[in-house]
Symmetry: C2
Subunit: 105 residues, 2 copies
DNA sequence: TTCGTAGTTCGAGAACCTTCGTACTACGAT
DNA sequence: ATCGTAGTACGAAGGTTCTCGAACTACGAA
């Protein structure tokens, strides 16, 4: 795992596995988070996307996305900025993310 | 569900949901099956792709793929022909399948 | 008709996932 | 220094998934 300056671990490009990415995206809540991140097209405070779940569940889902390599998370004061790893995913799996984001929903 | 002549149910295009497709593809055994189906590029008897699992587990995985809309299965004598729904998936999610099939593994 | 082959169904166990509440840490503002 | 806010860690409950073996069905061949 790459250690970021802030000590939150993220998988490097060669550690990302397609099965984990697909599993991360297969959950409705996580897919919704990813769609919002893609739509806003900028890093965003985790809590700013509202969802019918508790704080701890949100943390769990964000961790799943981060560990799969779908997002980066880094601290910013008392908050955390979550960013879609769009370029990394496009490099590894060209077409995959767009195919998912453009899907009917 | 569309009823095929052979009475094995398959989801129609508008019944296919991205979450289920992603979940179906997130399992290593199912992903391997799909890759083999794509490589052979023709319908194939279920049993001809060898895997370190029992018959009933294979049935379970093929059912998961079929119900998600990833493959079609239809009887042929005492056997069953499984086919990747490549055109359907490309229509619904352009780029997704290629992105997955071209992924390193 | 009898047998073998291909696959399904069912039930059960283990492992895993999702969700939550509670307790905790860390930072910024007052 | 104290408080509030943002988020994490942990444990537990409930649900789902994966895997298997055993019993079953369906078709074709001998």
């Amino acid at each position: 795992m790459d250690r970021m300056p802030e000590d939150i671990p993220h998988p490097s490009l060669d550690e990302i596995r397609i099965e984990r990415v697909l599993h991360a995206l297969a959950d409705p809540i996580r897919l919704h988070l990813v769609r919002e991140l893609a739509r806003l097209d900028t890093g965003v405070a985790c809590g700013s996307i509202d969802l019918p779940i508790t704080k701890s569940t949100r943390t769990h889902h964000l961790r799943t996305l981060r560990e799969a390599g779908v997002v980066t998370i880094h601290p910013a004061g008392t908050s955390r900025i979550t960013t879609l790893r769009r370029a990394d995913l496009d490099t590894l799996y060209p077409g995959l993310l767009d195919g998912i984001l453009n899907a009917p929903h």
